[in-house]
């Protein structure tokens, strides 16, 4: 009966490598458990993801693994799913105000931002000047990661001074050009650049290198993409935040399939993985190290 | 419109000391105009004299810089078209002002559509439109879209629109330019009818015979200044011309031209072009055969919608043909695009200058050289600036095109000079066959005269010239031989000496083929 089980695997946007990886992991795990999947790309739009969920319900899927594009906006669609007795497991991001979500597996972005902050405290005990490269304005991961960073730093405003806070829209070229501009505008360079994702961090790295400031300025990204890991390995980025998307995804699928096939609800819920900052020293903890030759 | 018997002597409209400047041009300086109720008043002048500008001021399309307007004895302020309409000043503009995507009926009553509740009353609208269009002899389904009409048909819609209004003064800016004899006749009857109802008409034309036939008084402008006014009965055409041009212009002669027909250059055999596969009424050109000879001017005459333009376009490869052959110097040639036509030495000066010939966003130089660039191009596709300027200069002199500089935007040349630029574009390719469609539409007598003589010269130079004209005098003056068309068919052919207005009109309106 495993064969005729089909689940929906939906992520916020496949334009971000992070979610591409997440989707891939979900599918792999599903295949391993002999479960078919329907893929869905939210295309950064709650209505689009809602449409996909609704279509899947029509399709008669037995379960849904989803990383909601928005905590609130996806609630109605997932509520419908629950009403139709389609079990839902959320990954990475929660959904608010829906009764009867089977489980949430995640390491939320605020914690990730906090991890970046903690890394600062640890590595710059006596303070630092910081450039904060924020993600796409208004997008929930951008908001949460930024919030996390501030949660930590705002308690030590005396020592840790954010000299510039600009958005680079999660995009590498803007990470580069914005950093270029900021550096040109500063009499003395900052100590650290904190970026809300690896793309922007890697862009910033190119800018810093171009000014030969790479040994003065440390850069921390977010998402632990293989490219970032490679960069850390080769002494580029100082670090990145690992949220174990693969682990989350696999765990989520296991929980869901276990419930569908054996009616067993998970004992622990929510399943929370604490994000960590990866550096040269603990690179071995990186989930996707394997993908880096 | 209801009759109002008005005292014929007190002026209905009095315009004093009007000046209007456009950036770079002073279009009008201290012009005055006086129009009496129930008269037809001709406003004359060369291209660019300021006629349309003055009329647009009366219509509320332009604001004058200075000057006063008195209407019905009261000083009035005409700020926008609506004001003019409120006063009963109705205008037929020189450039068409129809809404292409609306029906004939909607265009006639635009802004005044009969409504039932919040809705347009279509039945009433169409039936009222029918009445008006019938009155001016345009018998067509009022639900047809205006964009599907020919130039002349559109002009008739304009007239219908004007007549449908509560008019006291009807302004007509070159209404006959796009019309052929029969419509012109009809228009004159309409004007007479208007006068009878005490409605005044201001009439602009470049055809002076029309002034003599239909108008009571004339006012002449030159270079935006008033030259004078006169009673038509007191003056002769030559006087008017002297007022307009400031010198004598020989009008009727053929410049001592004697036709000597050379070898056959162009031969068209059984050419047919369907307008639309599934609408038999739309056949544009049916089974037309004709020949054009070197050194000869061939005229093609007909009423509007006769298919002349369509024939010209088909020969030139601008429209696809459904059957028939085209031979150049005896050899059959395949012409499917204008490029083909040009390669085989055919040129076409289209009927609608602004829409089909001019590049209004460009200067005179690129406009004139556009078709001839190949000849001016050197290595790597570079256009030789010197050669190009030389070319433009040559034709400026040859055609005496009045321009300030080659870099002047072609848009602010007068109609006549614009037409010369277009002609020059084709002469620069020295074609074997030159087809000119309505070559003098909307250009003044002096310029017209020059264009005519130019066409004579071209024929002398051994080019086969084909002239399409809706103006019979022009046809009779220019052509050595005239082919007549009706409903897409050739209805006859006359040598010049045998052709008269009567014989032509007969062929335009009857189907039998004369020798």
């Amino acid at each position: 009966r495993a064969q005729d089980t089909t689940i929906l695997a939906s992520v916020p946007s496949l334009t971000f490598p992070f979610f591409v990886h997440m989707l891939k992991e979900i599918k792999d795990e599903a295949t391993k458990l002999g479960v078919a999947t329907i893929d869905s790309d939210g295309q950064n739009s709650a209505p689009k993801q809602t449409a996909d969920v609704e279509a899947a319900i029509v399709q008669g899927v037995q379960g849904i693994v989803i990383s909601p594009s928005d905590v609130n906006a996806m609630a109605p669609a997932l509520a419908t799913a629950v009403e139709n007795n389609v079990p839902v497991v959320t990954v990475d991001r929660r959904v608010d105000g829906v009764e009867g979500i089977l489980a949430h597996v995640g390491a939320d972005n605020v914690k990730g931002g906090e991890a970046q902050g903690e890394w600062l405290l640890a590595n710059y005990p006596d303070g630092a000047k910081i450039i904060n490269l924020q993600g796409q304005p208004g997008a929930s991961p951008a908001i949460d990661r930024n919030k996390g960073l501030h949660n930590v730093l705002d308690q030590h405003t005396d020592k840790y001074q954010i000299v510039a806070e600009q958005t680079a829209n999660f995009a590498r070229d803007q990470g580069l050009s914005v950093t270029e501009s900021l550096l040109a505008g500063m009499s003395d360079p900052p100590d650290v650049i904190i970026a809300a994702n690896d793309d922007m961090a890697l862009g910033a790295l190119e800018a810093v290198r171009a000014r030969n400031l790479d040994d003065q300025i440390k850069i921390v990204g977010f998402d632990a993409l293989p490219e970032a890991l490679a960069s850390i390995r080769d002494g580029g980025l100082a670090g990145t935040v690992e949220q174990f998307p693969g682990g989350q995804s696999r765990r989520a699928v296991q929980i869901l399939v276990d419930y569908i096939q054996n009616g067993k609800a998970p004992e622990e819920n929510p399943v929370l993985l604490t994000p960590i900052v990866l550096t040269k020293d603990n690179l071995d903890k990186a989930e996707r190290l394997g993908e880096v030759q | 419109m209801q009759a109002r018997k008005a005292d014929r002597l007190t002026p209905l409209l009095q315009v004093q000391d009007i000046s209007k400047g456009f950036p770079g041009v002073q279009a009008l300086t201290g012009v005055a105009l006086e129009v009496r109720a129930g008269e037809c008043h001709a406003l004359l002048g060369e291209n660019g004299a300021g006629k349309s500008t003055l009329l647009k001021i009366l219509a509320g399309a332009h604001r004058p810089d200075t000057g006063t307007i008195t209407f019905d004895g009261r000083p009035v302020e005409i700020a926008r078209p609506a004001d003019a309409q409120a006063l009963g000043i109705v205008t037929i503009y020189q450039e068409f002002n129809l809404l292409p995507n609306l029906t004939i009926a909607e265009n006639v009553f635009v802004g005044r559509e009969p409504t039932r509740g919040p809705f347009v009353d279509w039945k009433k609208l169409n039936q009222q439109a029918r009445e008006v269009t019938r009155r001016i002899g345009l018998d067509m389904d009022p639900r047809r879209l205006v964009k599907d009409l020919s130039v002349a048909e559109q002009q008739m819609v304009e007239i219908a629109k004007a007549l449908s209004m509560e008019a006291r003064l009807v302004i007509m800016d070159e209404p006959t330019a796009a019309l052929s004899e029969t419509e012109v006749e009809r228009l004159f009857r309409i004007i007479a009818d208007l006068k009878a109802h005490g409605i005044a008409v201001v009439f602009v034309t470049h055809r002076l015979d029309e002034v003599m036939r239909a108008c009571d008084r004339v006012t002449v402008l030159r270079d935006g200044k008033l030259v004078g006014s006169a009673e038509v009965k007191d003056i002769r055409v030559d006087d008017i011309i002297r007022m307009m041009v400031g010198r004598e212009v020989e009008l009727h002669g053929r410049g001592g031209r004697v036709a000597h027909r050379g070898a056959t250059v162009l031969e068209v055999q059984n050419l047919t072009r369907m307008g639309d596969a599934n609408d038999p009424h739309a056949v544009r050109v049916r089974d037309v055969s004709l020949t054009a000879h070197a050194g000869e001017i061939l005229g093609i005459g007909g009423l509007i919608g006769a298919g002349r333009t369509e024939l010209a376009r088909a020969i030139f490869g601008a429209d696809p043909i459904d059957s028939g052959k085209v031979l150049i110097e005896g050899r059959e040639v395949a012409i499917t695009t204008p490029q083909d036509a040009i390669r085989h030495g055919i040129g076409l000066v289209p009927e609608d200058r602004k829409q089909q010939a001019l590049f209004l966003s460009l200067a005179i130089r690129p406009n004139l050289s556009m078709a001839a660039l190949d000849g001016l191009t050197e290595r790597l596709g570079f256009v030789s600036g010197s050669k190009e300027r030389a070319l433009v200069e040559r034709y400026r002199q040859k055609l005496s095109i009045r321009m300030a500089s080659q870099e002047q935007p072609v848009g602010n040349l007068s109609g006549g000079n614009q037409q010369k630029v277009v002609l020059a574009r084709w002469l620069a390719l020295n074609p074997k066959v030159l087809i000119v469609d309505e070559p003098t539409r909307g250009i003044d007598i002096a310029a017209k005269n020059e264009v005519h003589h130019l066409l004579f010269e071209l024929a002398e130079a051994g080019i086969a010239v084909i002239v399409i004209s809706s103006e019979m005098p022009e046809l009779l003056r220019l052509a050595d031989r005239i082919v007549t068309m009706r409903e897409g068919r050739v209805t006859g052919e006359l040598m010049r000496d045998r052709a008269t207005e009567e014989s032509l009109m007969h062929l335009f309106t009857h189907n039998q083929t004369a020798a």
Partner: protein, 348 residues
């Protein structure tokens, strides 16, 4: 439209097949597409699914109605996505009684806030105002619509972000969410009909009547066909042009409200990219970007076509990447088909 060409009648009153084909090309294309999807995946035809599709398109649809007016005047509006977000946030803020208590849950929210009627009103006012602002720039500063609304796209998005302080506002009372999630009545076979669908169809009928049977509507066509001529014919071209952007703004405001109700949340990134989807829908529906030609009927079809496309591809589990490729191709093909059909009709 009571014009010969649009009703597919020939001059001589008979029936003109090509005319009909030209008029109904988008519909034919839609039906073919639906046929294919139904054949590949019978579930596609389930009433539940079709109702879903209709609800999904209803917001695009509302926008497309306004866009039809804009494009008929040969204009364009790229700012609607931003206005949707902007208006949605405004409505949410009102409903929550200010930005402070943005996450207060449903129950007490209604207590704090000013209720949905005011919220809806404010959303519409914001949208209309935004539209008027752009209409002003277009008619008075004489800046082409593409540029003005490109600027507006950036400016209003910025305004929305500023207003939201980046964060979403969510959790509205049932009266509010009813507008996006509620149902109005139940039809036999089909089932419950969602509110947004009804709103969309109501406005569609209204828009059709206005465009085809009122002076104003006819004048919109006129202005689109030839502005200068329209002016000289005594039409108030500026006013009419202004009005279509105001109308578009009104629709965007309303859509913003309904979207927030549907998602039970308003955020600054809402509505991103809607402008292109909506313009595509309108053009697929046979409206000419050069103005003067187009119908509401076509727009409705075009909107549904895009919705069916997205739904059908997901239903058939097509890879998301491939989906984008197919959608791109279909958009071009649909318009190509329409153009071809029109060209076979009596040439203008």
């Amino acid at each position: 439209m009571a014009s010969a060409t649009q009703t597919g009648e020939t001059r001589n009153g008979g029936i003109d097949l090509f005319g009909l084909l030209a008029t109904y090309a988008p519909l034919i294309f839609l039906l073919v597409l639906m046929g294919i999807f139904a054949w590949l995946e019978p579930r596609f035809l389930l009433p539940l699914n079709l109702v879903n599709v209709m609800r999904q398109v209803s917001i695009y649809g509302l926008l497309a109605l306004g866009m039809t007016f804009v494009i008929l005047t040969a204009g364009i509006d790229l700012s609607i996505g931003a206005i949707v977000a902007f208006a949605g946030l405004a409505a949410a803020a009102v409903a929550k009684g200010g930005l402070e208590n943005r996450f207060a849950a449903g129950a007490d929210a209604s207590a704090l806030g000013y209720g949905w009627p005011l919220a809806m009103l404010v959303a519409i006012l914001f949208g209309t105002f935004a539209g008027a602002l752009q209409g002003f720039a277009i008619t008075r500063l004489k800046v082409p619509p593409f540029v003005v609304t490109l600027g507006g796209m950036s400016a209003f998005r910025g305004a929305a972000l500023l207003m939201a302080g980046g964060g979403p506002i969510s959790g509205f009372d049932p009266g509010y969410t009813w507008w996006g999630q509620g149902y109005l009545f139940t039809l036999p076979l089909i089932g419950r009909i969602p509110v947004p669908v009804v709103v969309f169809l109501l406005f569609a009928v209204l828009a059709h009547i206005v465009l085809s049977y009122t002076r104003y509507g006819r004048h919109v066509y006129g202005v689109g066909g030839n502005p200068e001529a329209a002016r000289l014919s005594g039409l108030n071209v500026r006013g009419i042009t202004m009005s279509v952007y105001v109308l578009m703004g009104f629709m965007a405001g309303l859509s913003g409200f309904i979207l927030s109700a549907r998602l039970n949340s308003a955020e600054a990134v809402a509505g991103m990219g809607y402008e292109l989807i909506v313009i595509a829908s309108v053009v697929i529906g046979g409206t000419s970007l050069f103005g003067g030609i187009g119908t509401i009927f076509g727009t409705v079809i075009g909107t549904i076509l895009i919705g069916v496309l997205q739904n059908g591809l997901v239903l058939n589990n097509v890879s998301p990447y491939v989906q984008q490729i197919i959608i791109g191709l279909i958009i071009v093909l649909a318009v190509a088909f329409d153009t071809f059909a029109k060209s076979r009709r009596r040439r203008a």
